[in-house]
Amino acid sequence: MKLDLIFRITTKLILPFILMFALYVQFHGDYGPGGGFQAGVITAAMVILYAIIFGLPAAQKVVPARLAELMIPLGALIYASVGAVAMLLGGEFLNYSVLLSDGPHGQELGILLVEIGVLVTVAGTMTAIFYSFAGRGR
């Protein structure tokens, strides 16, 4: 793997763009195709690409396995707590209209927050599963 200069340089060049695209898919999901799920998968794909080219230890230095595993319940919690906050503010569970004084904007904020929750869970799950598969060979 040490001699794959072209792979290494190309990967280094392309990684920021993958992350950029993931964030674009995430935050542009309101206007175009995409959303938390797709963005989460793309984010995980970025980590996996890094792990394939630079080796598992290098990738786990950037995204520790503990962090990936922590992300799995964290995302679900973010999602559920947005619903709970809406309930505390006097609305129904997951009714985002009460999050802000202006109904539609509250909805927009709520959708953004739950999509972040989906992103965190999906990215964490995919990365953690890849880590545990790839780590078995050793």
Partner: protein, 184 residues
């Protein structure tokens, strides 16, 4: 039509090929073709998911599994008659069932009659989000998406427990067993 023919050809290839590396790559190509079909059907969100999950992550995970096992499929000692029989029956039932479906893409199908028009008309007004797929997914059907997130969470925890459990069982028998119970 061309895409569907290609997909059928790839399926035959997957069945006939004994080299598992080739099968995994063909599976990836199949997913990309499926994504193209979904784009033709104007389901861009689904196509994106199919391309990233089916062709991307699934292929990579399959390759990592291949790295751990042999790369050639072993001959099965069983005769293929019973699975063939089950597959034929299932296919027959599915084809029979599809006869009862409403015509494809017709505007007066039941699915377009009930809540769909309301979502399409009120989405921008109520949620301020132009992409109706997103607003239905995250707001109108927020419960379902919460459930999906929990499913992904459960699946992740389950796989991790299965893969981790074995490693720990070498040291201690009991904790791994109780954790396996908790995963259910």
């Amino acid at each position: 039509m061309v895409l569907l023919t290609l997909m059928a050809a790839i399926t035959v290839g997957v069945v006939r090929l004994r080299n598992l590396f080739g099968v995994v790559i063909l599976g990836g190509i199949y997913s990309f073709l499926m994504a193209s079909v979904l784009i033709v059907l104007d389901a861009v969100d689904v196509a994106m998911t199919e391309a990233s999950v089916g062709a991307g992550i699934a292929t990579v995970l399959m390759l990592t599994v291949l790295y751990l096992t042999k790369s050639r499929e072993s001959q099965s000692p069983h005769t293929p008659m019973l699975p063939l029989f089950v597959a034929m029956i299932t296919a027959g039932v599915l084809v029979y069932g599809s006869e009862g479906l409403p015509p494809f893409g017709a505007a007066d199908n039941p699915i377009h009659k009930r809540v769909a028009p309301r979502y399409l008309e009120k989405s921008v007004e109520e949620t301020g989000v132009p992409n109706v797929v997103t607003s239905v997914l995250a707001s109108y059907r927020g419960y379902d998406t919460l459930g999906e997130t929990v499913v992904v969470f459960t699946a992740g925890i389950g796989v991790l427990l299965l893969l981790r459990g074995r490693r720990r069982r070498k040291k201690k028998e009991k904790p791994a067993a109780t954790k396996g119970e908790a995963a259910k």
